[in-house]
Each structure stands twice: as C-alpha cells, then as structure tokens.
Symmetry: C2
Subunit: 224 residues, 2 copies
C-alpha cells in the first residue's frame, strides 16, 4: 500500500522519510512505528511529525486530534489483516466441505495471518499495536478492536467450538482466551525469548513462531 523504509528507524530524526510518499502516508507510517514501540501515551504528536518530516499543523490538518490519528494509523494496517483472516478461514473451510476442520488446521488459520503480516515494517508495526492494544488508556483499544476484529473473531470462535465439542462452553472460552494471550505476547517481541534461550531463539522469526505455536496451542485446546 505504501512504500516505506524500516519503521524502526523512526527515532533517528527524519532520515526515514521517503520523498516520494504522500504526506498522509508518511505521517501514518511514523505514527504506526512510534505508537507500536511506545504506546499511545508514550508517543507525542510532535515526535510523529518530526519523524515524518512535516510540521505539527499539517498533522492536525490531515488527521485532527491525536486520538483520531491513532485510530487511523491502526485501522489502515488492520484492514489487511482482517481480510487475510477472513480468507484464511474461508480456505480452511473450503478444504473441509463437511464442516469439520481439524484443530491444527484451524489454529494455523487463526494465527498465521497475524504472524505473517509481520513480513513488512508496516505490518510489524500494526501487529505490535494490535498486541498492546489492551494496555492503552481510555479504552482506545476496545473501541478500535470492536471496529475491526469482532466479526471475524466471532466466526473463528464458532469454528473452534465446533472443532472442540468435548469441551464445555466455558472451558472453551477460557482456552481461546489463553490462546489470545500467547499469540499477542509473541507478536510484541518482548525480548524474553532471547533472554531465556541465551540468544539461540529469535522472537522476530515469525515463520518459526507459527510452526512452534500451532502444535502448542492445538494440544492445549484439545486437552481433556
């Protein structure tokens, strides 16, 4: 959607602002990068403007209040993911027309769109914002989550419950809840994996993360 340099360079003055990109997109790129790293309260609109190489008035001209900029930055990237999730579920269903999707397949369809969305810097930023949404103040997280994910997530939870008929409704909900925690934490790259493994594992290797997390979650979900 937009050309952009590695968003993690956003801290270094405005060296990361490509000249070709439109002002709107440059602002969104840097808003994403900074919100993803430091959260809503930890990021100033001034820092975003400086990183994007525009002045503060322009930022307000295009996006209005900080809160609205946050929403715009998040929603731009989130749209991709929602589409990918929808497609992933449809495909899993198409492979199993009887309606019985194997659990491993379903878990993969659930986590893969998030994990592989990190292939681009913009995608990484969006996923980091996503992973930390529930820690943002003033319910911005809830507002924006409801706006994008609720519908798709509902479809997934129903598919999961069909794949887990031996579980009570409540236990199924708890386990899906634990699953959310696991994949979100993974998306954040907290550094604990590297610390724990003495540097042997790389939490930024999301392709590997998928292969590791799918059997873990599938086994946990279908535990007796």
């Amino acid at each position: 959607m937009s050309v952009l340099t590695d968003a993690r360079e956003a801290g270094d003055a405005d060296a990361a602002a490509p000249v070709g990109a439109s002002v709107r997109n440059r602002i969104l790129d840097h808003a994403q990068a900074l919100f993803a790293e430091q959260g809503y309260a930890g990021t100033s609109t001034r820092a975003i403007a400086q990183g994007a190489g525009v002045n503060l008035a322009q930022l307000h001209y295009y996006f209005g209040a900080k809160r609205d900029l946050f929403k715009a930055a998040y929603l731009r990237g989130a749209a991709h993911v929602t589409e990918a999730r929808s497609r992933a579920l449809d495909q899993a269903r198409a492979e199993h027309p009887d309606g019985d999707i194997p659990l491993e397949r379903l878990v993969r369809a659930f986590v893969e769109p998030f994990m592989l969305n990190t292939a681009t810097p913009e995608g990484r930023a969006t996923m980091a914002m996503h992973a930390r949404l529930h820690t943002e103040p003033d319910d911005i997280g809830k507002e924006v989550l409801a706006q994008v994910y609720d519908e798709t997530t509902l479809a997934y939870t129903e598919a999961f419950r069909r794949a887990l008929p031996h579980l009570s409704f409540e236990t199924a909900c708890w386990r899906l809840y634990f699953m959310m925690g696991a994949y979100r934490y993974t998306l954040m790259r907290t550094g604990r994996l590297e610390a724990m493994s003495g540097g042997l594992c790389d939490s930024g290797d999301f392709a590997r993360a998928v292969e590791e997390i799918v059997p873990f979650l599938a086994a946990g979900l279908k535990a007796p």
Copy 2:
C-alpha cells in the same frame, strides 16, 4: 504489609486514603493502582499525589523521580510474589525427591503464585503492573523484571526442561515463551473473556483461571 482500601477507587478524589496508613504507603498504594490501570506514561505524579491525599512535594521527598516511584511501587508488591514462587517450587520439589516433578504439578507451581496473588487489591495491582511491564517505555520493564524475577524464573525454566526431555532446547524455550504470554494476558483482565463468553465467564475469577490454565498449558508444553 499495608492496610488498604480497594485500589480501584483511586480515581475518586482522595476518598480512598485511609487515615491510619503512613504517607509512604498511601503513596505506594495509589501509585500501584494507577500505574496498573494506565501504565507508566499514562499516569501523572499529580494524580497519584491527589489520590493519596498528599501534595506533590511530599511525593518527591519520599521517592524522588517518577521513575523511582514506579520501581518502588512495583518492587514492594513483587517481593511477595517472588517469595511465593520460590516456596511453590521448593514444595513441588519436596513432593518429588527423585527430581521428577510431573508437568502438571510444575505448571501449577509456576502460575499459582501469580494468580492467587490477586486475592488482595494491592496484589491485583502488582500483577497488573507485572502483566503490562513489557509495554512500558524506556525499558523500565526490563530493568525491574531483571531485578526481581530472573533468578526464580531461571530455576523454573530448568525444572521445566527437566520435565520436558523430549523437546529440543529451542522448542522448549518457545513453549515457555508462549506460556508467559498466556498467563500474563490472563492477569490483565482485558475484558475479552467476558466479551467472548457473553458474560458467562469472569476473568477476575483467578482460582478458576488456575484450574483452566493448568491443563491447557501442560498439554501444550508436552505436545509431540
């Protein structure tokens, strides 16, 4: 350690400040409650001082900079948990002098100290701070994590690896990483569980959470 009222009332003026408590503890109580809810960047020292019914200068007299207050607030509660974790692991070991702690037992020893620490308002706040540490800016989280948990966590990870001999070192690390995400998300009470279950489940019921999460994690960890 300190008498305190429900920390979640901290927003309402200073109605929550018990007269008997020392100034130090009143400040710490409200610092914990606000940092837990809104994070480091989202909380102002003014709000803490007002909640505790003291003035701003006193807050600096006792604790110095905001950063130091954050650390003090976190560490006060974290000490309890570290002790509880240490005891839990020792007890699990004592029950199995051969050195082979069953995985379910080990998982329980790992998560229970965190979950049951939420029985008091101060404990709840500490655990919420803990759960969101990795989203705090300026590496405060890492600094403080290293200070309290590293040693105990190392003991646990070694015990886990002994209980999971069929796993490669890397896969074991990944799975422990996923486990961390799951229990931390649970400690935060994001509201997603209630949303998903239509209000049937209560994410604040941490005793239930233990019973649900132990089989989930044990099964995930020992997946083939």
